[in-house]
């Protein structure tokens, strides 16, 4: 920069930030306050909010979801605890969109998200990770706790009645649940998500409206496998 003085924040170029807010349907900073510092604070808060949340539901978005899940997996490994992951998919959602149009579909998604928020625990993180697919991170809980929490959430959504204007829709959801094994090797959020997805597809195949889960993670190396693996001599016989 060629200026001799540090730039005054009042001269910051905020056009790009304002355009993003406009496109996201947020209020114009000028309408929020006359005070430039309050306007800037509003812009920062709104951009933070947009970068973390899904615009339709207000749940956490997919990017932030992976960051939170990775952190929780790490924490559960460090503390020898368990972290649960629940994947929720609305059954036959395509029919809703095809029959009533996308705006009704969007409202269904919003009401499912609202119900999820009501039935989950305060420490859980709910995310919208795809069109009609949601995930809930159940941190720091025993497998029994995870199962209990997931069962309650699933029950509140199964069946689920959404009233949109004068349309009443009775929907079901399929759920997959997995949890980390404190005795196993750590995994990444995407691997854990793909395992939860597999369980969810299992729930779909077995008739929808169901929940499938894993007692033990086959992808984690169990203590049985560990001891079988170590049942080879590395020194005496290999050196023989």
């Amino acid at each position: 920069m060629s200026e001799d003085h540090p730039r005054d924040w009042k001269n910051l170029d905020l056009t790009a930030a304002c355009r993003i807010l406009e496109n996201a349907g947020r209020r114009d900073p000028a309408s929020v306050s006359k005070d430039p510092s309050e306007q800037l604070q509003y812009i920062i808060n709104s951009l933070c909010d947009l970068s973390v949340h899904d615009g339709l539901t207000g749940l956490v978005n997919a990017t932030f979801f992976h960051a939170v899940l990775n952190r929780e997996i790490e924490r559960s490994m460090r503390t020898a605890g368990t972290c649960g992951l629940m994947v929720i998919d609305i059954d036959h959602f395509k029919n809703v969109n095809d029959t009533y149009g996308h705006s009704v579909g969007d409202k269904v998604i919003q009401s499912v998200a609202a119900q999820m928020k009501k039935s989950m625990r305060s420490m859980d993180t709910a995310a919208r990770i795809g069109g009609e697919e949601f995930a809930i991170i159940l941190p720091d809980c025993t497998p029994e706790d995870a199962l209990k929490a997931a069962t309650r959430i699933h029950a509140s959504l199964n069946p689920f009645t959404a009233t949109i204007d004068d349309i009443v829709l009775k929907l079901t959801t399929s759920v997959g649940l997995v949890w980390t094994d404190p005795n196993a090797t750590s995994i990444t959020s995407s691997v854990m998500l793909s395992l939860a997805d597999q369980e969810m597809y299992m729930a779909k195949r077995s008739g929808r409206g169901r929940m499938c889960y894993r007692h033990t993670e086959p992808i984690f190396v169990s203590s049985h496998e560990k001891s079988a693996l170590m049942n080879i001599s590395f020194e005496e016989r290999l050196n023989g």
Partner: protein, 267 residues
Amino acid sequence: MGSERKRARRYALLSGKGGVGKSIITANLAATLSTFGRRILVIDADLGLASLDVILGITPVSTIQESFRGEQSIEQVLQSTRGFDFVPAASGLPEGTVLTERLTAGVESAIAALEERYDAILFDAGAGIGDVVMFFAGLADEIMLVVTPEPTCLMDTYATIKVLYHTHGTRDFLLVVNQSGPSPASADAGERIAAHLQEVISSHFESQETDPVRIRLAGSIPVDTAVKHSVMRRRLLGETNPDAPATRALTRLAAFIDAAIRNRKTP
């Protein structure tokens, strides 16, 4: 003739644990395969801690990361050495450890642009089961696991196989047992480790089949001071120690891969 063209066979060298010899094996394998007349492309896929350029004694002009950013074309990044082509990567850039759209699209377009010219592509991937490693594994036709005869390494290899089996549906693995550690093992260490892994997998993986996963020993490399000697001089084994036991073992590994490349199917 055009329809007769065979697609390059892609090999990903992986290991649960780091420092087991992936990069040494990749470099020497590529050089030996090219003396057999195979057209080889090596991609340094350890985008967090790239080191192949150091092993090859090359100072890269530019790196694959620059091609992701559009600053260089992949042709400009490509370097020729010892009869094969090499795509170097930058080391120490944290962005190389995160699987971004830019990274996946960059790698895929680089492969699409170059693949035609080669018989085989070798990815020297990083250690562990991170997203970037799993991405390269997904691009490969063959997974080559490098393992040392140590409990920790065996454990990590097993976990890697299990994760790939569940996430990518990988069922065939090539194993290279490399004794990068200080203590020499017996001549049959390779066979014993391959058989042991196979047995533990077959008795513990949940599956209707007897062998849900097949482990094939592709090569066994003895501990050899010649390896360190060549690394220190930033040369390949064939250049510094052409008759060393490790050099001969790597030539046998190359012959094994050469046969597979020649027999590869047309797409």
